[in-house]
């Protein structure tokens, strides 16, 4: 490493949270910071309203030219600049003797405090509020518009935080990547970068220290920003881009190199998800999370409401495979009308299928709605219950589903170690099983999924968790029934090899993860997958297991996907 007299050392790596899988190399273009209030503020009191209006008009015209999520976000920001409560607040402060710039700053700050304290969706709008403040203050002080300068060459835009309005001002043909010091993976910058297909790293602490013009490598897969990268990183970046394009063009059904089929399915939660998935090269839906319908609702959705939604989802995949998970409420997904507020250990309490003990009509209505939707669309869904622990629960659920008139396969989720250990008996009564690896890890490792500090224990590579996956897949193989995986681990290309080697018959994941898994599978034979499975199961630790499988995998795949 060579140091420079001042500034950031060559080779220095900033770690953040990546969005997407892209890797790019290019010069840094830093966004202009927010205007700092001079002592005593500034601005002409007669210009206050006009300054707000100029900002609103500019933002609205950018909204009119934009599309999709960006259009809505810009319209919302323009509406904030037109907000009567905000403008009145600022005007009252000016009348009380504050300078216009101070008045705008403080009037916005009141809303920022209010929104921050409220948290959730309101807190996510704080970036937009600050952008209104910056723009109006800059107008009042006669400064250039805060944000990103016009980009002469393709650049990596680096900012403390980027408001959607800043993103809109970007010439996207010249933006190689976006890096921010703040923000989160679910914030606007990340969402819009994702929509535009621009690699993005957020929460890269300290990255604003990098000077304009310095070359950086941004790796969204790793969440890193490297200053003055080695020359070979450029070649790597080009290879990764080629691979991504090739991967997306591949629409063949999921299979290993030697033709062993593994169904590649999508995880969905809404009708919109279903429509998006139906337009993509997937072989069906492996997990339809129905609780999305129930969340934020004070009462249970009616039979008619549910039937309408289920029919829309089944209709999108007419004649295809759609695996519906019945209501999985409780623990981290509380429902106003079904969750007991006073449970001491909700993850171990009345959740998932167990709700049938307290409110059996919830499940009966849902199964009836599914049967009605099947009759309407002529497509029989696969139906499964979450949080099954025993063979008796399995038998009871199958009986309820048949009673409701469902004719398609009826199965259960394997998330509780007890069910995995007795998978053979469970499969005597269920038509199929689906492994929820996130919860299976939580219950195998006795580790709360919501406890961030214990995240290492929740690693799906933990050999004990894999042992239970293996037991389940083996039992399914013996009786010739299907065992899928619909947890997060299915979207990890290396884990996909292991799961295939263990005998898992389908992998269900978010749409974005699918191309990399499809390609990785096709690059390996079933025999190689079995060797990977043996290596993962034979390891003493999660890290050793993953390293062993990585060493066995095709080096080209490992390099191009940055595994």
């Amino acid at each position: 490493m060579t140091g420079t007299s001042d500034g950031v050392v060559s080779g220095h790596t900033f770690q953040g949270v990546g969005v997407g899988r892209g890797l790019v190399v290019g010069p840094v273009a830093k966004a202009f910071p927010s205007p700092v209030l001079p002592p005593g503020g500034g601005g002409d009191p007669d210009d206050l309203d006009a300054a707000f209006e100029r900002v609103a008009t500019t933002l609205q015209s950018r909204s009119d030219e934009a599309e999709g999520a960006l259009r809505d976000v810009l319209a919302a920001t323009a509406q904030m600049a037109r907000d009567p409560a905000l403008r009145t607040g600022a005007a009252q402060r000016v009348a009380a003797g504050e300078s216009p710039a101070e008045a705008v700053d403080r009037a916005v700050a009141q809303f920022v405090d209010l929104f921050t304290a409220a948290g959730g969706m309101l807190a996510e709008r704080v970036t937009d509020l600050r952008s209104v403040r910056d723009r109006v203050v800059a107008e009042l002080l006669g400064l250039d518009e805060p944000g990103v300068p016009a980009l002469a060459v393709p650049s990596v835009v680096v900012a403390a935080d980027l408001a959607p309005a800043d993103t809109a001002a970007l010439d996207v043909t010249k933006v190689l990547a976006i890096v921010t010091q703040h923000g989160g993976p679910t914030g606007h910058t990340a969402i819009i970068a994702g929509q535009l297909g621009i690699p993005c790293v957020v929460r890269a602490s300290g990255v604003m220290a990098v000077e304009t013009g310095r070359e950086v490598a941004v790796d969204a897969a790793a969440g890193t920003v490297v200053v003055d990268p080695e020359p070979h990183v450029r070649e790597l970046a080009a290879a990764r881009q080629d691979a991504a394009r090739r991967l997306e063009a591949d629409t063949a059904p999921g299979a290993t190199k030697d033709g062993h089929e593994v169904k590649l399915l999508a995880n969905i939660g809404t009708v919109a998800d279903a429509e998006r998935a139906a337009a993509s090269p997937v072989e069906g839906v492996g997990l339809f999370r129905t609780e999305v319908l129930y969340l934020e609702s004070a009462t249970a959705p009616t039979l008619e409401e549910q039937t309408r939604v289920y029919a829309a989802v089944l209709g999108a995949f007419a004649g295809g495979k759609v695996v519906v998970r019945t209501l999985d409420a409780g623990a981290d997904k509380p429902l106003a009308f079904a969750t007991q507020p006073d449970e001491e250990n909700p993850a171990l309490g009345v959740r998932g299928y167990r709700l049938v003990r307290r409110v059996p009509e919830l499940l009966r209505t849902q199964l009836a709605a599914l049967a009605a939707a099947a009759a309407q669309t002529g497509t029989d869904p696969w139906v499964m219950a979450p949080m099954i622990a025993t063979v008796q629960e399995t038998a009871d659920f199958v009986a309820m589903a048949r009673e409701a008139g469902l004719r398609g396969p009826v199965g259960v989720m394997i998330e509780v170690p007890a069910a995995a250990l007795r998978a053979r008996d469970v499969l005597e009564v269920a038509d199929f099983v689906s492994l929820g690896t996130n919860d299976l890890a939580q219950y195998t490792m006795a580790t709360d999924r919501l406890r961030g500090t214990l995240v290492d224990l929740l690693d799906p590579w933990q050999p004990a968790v894999l042992e239970l996956v293996a037991t389940t897949a083996r039992a399914a193989g013996e009786v010739g029934r299907s065992a899928g995986v619909c947890g997060e681990s299915a979207s990890d290309p290396l884990m996909a090899l292991v799961l295939t080697g263990l005998g898992v018959t389908s992998l269900s994941m978010s749409l974005g993860s699918l191309p990399a898994v499809r390609w990785t599978l096709r690059a390996h034979t079933l025999e190689q997958c079995r060797a990977a499975a043996a290596a993962a199961l034979g390891a003493r630790t999660a890290a050793e297991g993953r390293a062993a499988v990585r060493a066995l995998a095709d080096p080209e795949v490992v390099a191009e996907l940055a595994l």
Binding site: A76, A85, L86, M121, R125
Partner: protein, 89 residues
């Protein structure tokens, strides 16, 4: 004083896009319109920022109110807007 009680139809509640569209419509109504939770304090319906502080989720009830000869027509239109799923458009 006329008022209408209506359940929020937008899937994501009265945030972002639905709040923008509703505040625009209320601002163009020509008369002052207020909105609040049943029994709670009411805020200026044309202020998107104040609207969002209600944190009204899908299915939550809100009360819109206005005065004057035009109030009933304006409130009917605004109530219909709130009942729609504005995110779906």
């Amino acid at each position: 004083m006329s008022e209408r009680t209506v359940a929020i139809g937008s899937a994501q509640g009265l945030h972002a896009r639905p709040a923008t569209l509703f505040a625009q419509a209320a601002g163009q109504a020509g008369i002052p319109v207020r909105i609040g939770r049943p029994g709670g304090p009411a805020v200026d319906a044309s202020s998107m920022l104040m609207l969002m502080t209600l944190s009204a989720a899908h299915g939550d009830e809100v009360v819109v109110s206005a005065d004057g000869p035009d109030a009933d027509r304006v409130l009917d239109e605004l109530a219909a807007l709130l009942a729609q799923d504005l995110d779906a458009q």
